[in-house]
């Protein structure tokens, strides 16, 4: 009874929100499909890892609504996105093909992300303006500030959105980036996907404040907290942040509280963002159980094909290992060390 009331309240809130946000059924179905697809890709990646096929990477499980919601207002190809290793759902949503993800996870030669040079999930796509990520946490927050500053000075109207975990906020880079962004009212959005833990370290051993967003005031920017199980709430908060950024009002620190879900196959979790949206869409008649099943089947078929293609792709060619250290036209001495090439002896 109680449970049903809760659900009614929640659905009513969602009804109101979709009106406010002017989201049609199609929009919601697209968000749902993006989240579901990310979930399915993520499950396949977990299987690959379990089979010893792949070298690492982190799950976006539970973070789907946070990520899909945050990139909803993104102007793909104009705005810059500086993700962290968990941002699979964000990347799929903005148009990175699943096959690229699989190639990346499998470190294949044709992996468009790094060609096997980086461990999986250090994202990159020039075409999508996904800035090449390192394996270090928080460093990209400064790049986002620098990009936003450049964009602002050139009147480009581009926004830089960067993602990181709550643990990453303990690094000095975070402070330096937010300070600079706040100072110059830069068009940058700092999205903290707060899952309450950094490897083994709980938030309570990371900072003494209840919310990462509590730090925003120290940088003269709004700190917004949003429920990361609820994609509509995230879309609302993200749109507000993009609006602020685009209209010259400056940066936002957006803290998305994401649920920690059990592993794939465990009990359905009421905080599961994919499940929450599914139940709502079905209750409102936007999605039928049959259509849902069909969507899953279609997605699965597409992913199976993509994975198969990725598994068939060649491994990196050692002969290419020296490429792209410097620009092709790089000033380099015509002579090179006659003693060089320790390998070749």
């Amino acid at each position: 009874m109680r449970r049903q009331d809760d659900e009614r309240m929640r659905f009513a809130r969602l009804d109101a929100r979709r009106i406010t946000l002017d989201l049609q059924a199609d929009d919601l179905l697209r968000a749902y499909r993006n989240m579901l697809r990310a979930r399915l890709v993520d499950e396949r990646l977990a299987e690959l890892r379990a089979q010893g096929y792949a070298a690492g990477g982190a799950s976006c499980r539970g973070h789907e609504a946070a990520q899909v919601g945050c990139v909803e207002p993104l102007n793909v190809g104009l705005d810059y996105i500086l993700p962290y290793y968990r941002d699979l759902a964000a990347l799929l949503a903005i148009g990175m093909p699943p096959e690229a993800i699989f190639l990346n996870q499998l470190s294949r030669a044709t992996d468009p992300i790094s060609g096997g040079r980086m461990r999986p999930a250090q994202w990159n796509s020039r075409a999508l303006r996904v800035v090449s990520a390192s394996g270090l946490v928080a460093t990209q927050t400064l790049h986002a500030a620098g990009i936003a500053f450049a964009a602002k000075l050139r009147h480009e109207n581009a926004v830089a959105v960067t993602f990181f975990g709550e643990g990453a906020t303990s690094e000095g880079d975070f402070h330096e980036a937010l300070n600079f962004a706040g100072l110059h009212h830069l068009p940058v959005i700092f999205v903290c996907e707060n899952n309450g833990i950094a490897l083994s370290t709980p938030q309570s051993a990371q900072m003494s404040v209840a919310h990462v967003a509590d730090r925003a005031a120290g940088y003269g920017m709004p700190g917004v907290i949003v429920d990361g199980s609820d994609v509509l709430a995230v879309i609302g908060a993200a749109r507000e942040a993009f609006m602020r950024a685009r209209s010259g009002l400056g940066p936002t620190l957006l803290e998305v509280i994401v649920p920690r879900l059990g592993p794939a196959g465990s009990m359905p979790d009421p905080h599961d963002p994919v499940e929450q949206l599914r139940v709502y869409l079905i209750s409102r008649g936007d999605l039928s159980p049959e259509a849902d099943a069909q969507m899953r089947a279609d997605l699965a078929a597409g992913l199976d094909a993509a994975l198969k293609a990725a598994l068939a792709a060649p491994l990196p060619d050692p002969a290419t290992v020296g490429e792209h250290l410097f620009a092709p036209d790089s000033a380099s001495p015509s002579p090179t060390n006659p003693a060089d090439g320790g390998k070749e002896r």
């Binding site: 070298a55 790094s114 096997g116 270090l136 303990s170 690094e171 000095g172 370290t201 290992v321 250290l325």
Partner: protein, 326 residues
């Protein structure tokens, strides 16, 4: 004596030093309940309590800076950094602070910290496999230790913890689990500043350290098949460096190859080769060769990593080249 892994030897070394000296404290990310991402500190928080094993927030610069503070206050902090690549974030604290505090205060203050970090190849890509020893060995005021086997790991770690000055303790992570090795029972130290000849030889010397010691011993086997006897010198501590043992070996064999996993250009091997070339000038039958990685970041995929990093084969080729031509 017992067969142990390097990670076990590390763990036991930490545990014994904590038991011996209550000033020894550990700090690092995820080292407490989780026991460290490579398990070096497994169980130590339970055994010694949270006052001796500090889980740090996610900041390497902060971890090192706070360790320095704790050392200034009289403790003997041992900091773990999850990958040596993150030490770059703490460089200013290490180079401008830890290395200089004794000197600048005319000995009034000192900074007996140990900073431990796994390093080097074995998968991880450009920012999780860097060989960082050259950066630290060059800094007056820092000591740099690199073990190549479990027994040395324990003995060197204990010596580093008891040392009165900052020590960068670099652990070749690809040796963490294998090969295991005999580790003496009880308390023992391997003093800083002493190289050791791991295998005697007469035709050429390889001067090496860390994971490349294992590769060198494998190469020596192969070369023995050719009738080339390779002497393998394990440097063990880069700063202070045991010039005498190295020079004596080259004096005997007249041929030297300097071998490390790091990029050759500007690597620590340059110091070794420059020093040997100068001091052993009249002994040398041929040039001192250097074997190291190509001047590239280390890619993550095994195929590409192998193309960049040197190994036993690379060394064999260099020694053959040297012994054939000179």
């Amino acid at each position: 004596m017992a067969q142990q892994t390097m990670i076990r030897a590390l763990h036991d070394g930490l545990r014994e030093e904590m038991a011996r000296d209550e000033r020894v404290v550990l700090l690092g990310e995820d080292i407490g309940a989780a026991g460290g991402i490579f398990n070096a500190t497994q169980g130590l928080r339970r055994e010694f309590g949270p006052a001796r094993v500090w889980d740090m927030p996610l900041t390497e610069n902060g971890t090192v800076g706070i360790a320095i503070g704790a050392a200034l206050a009289g403790l003997r902090p041992v900091a773990e950094v999850q990958f040596a690549d993150y030490l770059f974030a703490a460089m200013s604290q290490l180079v401008n602070e830890a290395a200089k505090v004794r000197y600048r205060s005319q000995g009034e203050w000192s900074c007996p910290i140990v900073v431990r970090a796994p390093y080097g190849g074995g998968g991880g890509g450009p920012d999780h496999t860097q060989n960082v020893e050259a950066f630290f060995a060059h800094v007056p005021g820092l000591k740099v230790v690199i073990p190549s086997n479990p027994a040395d790991t324990k003995g060197l770690l204990k010596a580093a913890i008891r040392d009165g000055d900052p020590v960068i303790f670099l652990e070749p992570k690809r040796l963490y689990h294998e090969p295991p090795g005999e580790v003496p029972d009880g308390d023992y130290l391997v003093p800083l500043g002493r190289a050791v000849v791991r295998r005697e030889g007469s035709d050429a010397s390889v001067i090496t350290y860390g994971a490349m010691v294992v590769e060198s011993l494998a190469a020596a086997e192969v070369l023995a098949g050719d009738g080339i006897e390779l002497e393998v010198v394990d440097v063990r501590t880069l700063q202070p460096l045991d010039f005498t043992t190295i020079a004596a070996s080259v004096h005997k064999t007249t041929r030297a190859v300097v071998f490390h996993e790091d990029v050759r250009f500007g690597g620590f091997g340059a110091e070794l080769a420059a020093f040997i070339s100068e001091v052993c000038f009249d002994d040398l039958a041929g040039p001192v060769l250097r074997v190291g990685a190509l001047s590239l970041p280390t890619p993550a995929s095994p195929e590409l990593e192998t193309a960049v990093l040197p190994n036993a084969e690379t060394l064999v080729a260099a020694v053959r080249h040297l012994t054939t031509l000179h």
